[in-house]
Symmetry: C2
Subunit: 127 residues, 2 copies
Amino acid sequence: MRYSRQRELVLRQVQNRCDHPTADDIYLAIREDCPGLSLGTVYRNLNGLVEMGRVRRVSIPGMADRFDRTLSEHDHLYCTRCGKVEDVFLDKTAINEMIEARKDLAIEHVSLNLYGLCSACRDAARS
Amino acid sequence: MRYSRQRELVLRQVQNRCDHPTADDIYLAIREDCPGLSLGTVYRNLNGLVEMGRVRRVSIPGMADRFDRTLSEHDHLYCTRCGKVEDVFLDKTAINEMIEARKDLAIEHVSLNLYGLCSACRDAARS
DNA sequence: TTAACTGCAAATCTTTTGCACAATC
DNA sequence: GATTGTGCAAAAGATTTGCAGTTAA
């Protein structure tokens, strides 16, 4: 894979934000510095970066994919109040053991999505 | 909500099949008996039936939603070999306990998707 | 009769793709 | 100079929606 300014900007954009931007979010943000940019290029680069393992894709049913700079194993919480996506680090040993125990299943990978309140909305709801 | 032949046919279609059909699968199947049917009507009715709790929606990232006649709590296995979606009944107490234990999180609902081999493909792979 | 439902087609939204041109190695 | 990447615009796929006509209660 050879260098390109656009790919560099896409990667930097994902790495520099702690939210979980969509392709369009990234496109709009980069566009300010790089007016010629096209959305197709953003998608192509995101797909490449995901394949290379440089960024992660976060899929939540019914909405555009989001992209995540955090590569270590973790899951995502979709906030049912504000729509934000938050990283959640869970101890998954219980889940893995439960899956292992099911010898009748040939499971290769488990994906879980959490729905609830993000930390900001949880704090707001407390008052 | 008032009676309609189309809704009846959509519901019956979901209830009579043990696979997990997409809106389009259902549309094509019903269309044989009811040529006038439109795909929009199928979508509208499926959405209504899901809202009423008569059928369940199964969302797997990157593909069309599927619909499930089985209402009791369970998850889904997407077969990475043949693409079939299979019901999986797991003992989720360990997962729920783990979520409960995380007092810092306000999680309302957990959804998990499993990826691996369906029973048919697993049996085929064994030989 | 009137509110809900339908068919149709157009619109929406997300993502991919074909192609001619440009940039990289 | 060969190949990879880009911009653009069109296409694709899933789903929703506006509207005028139809149907159940």
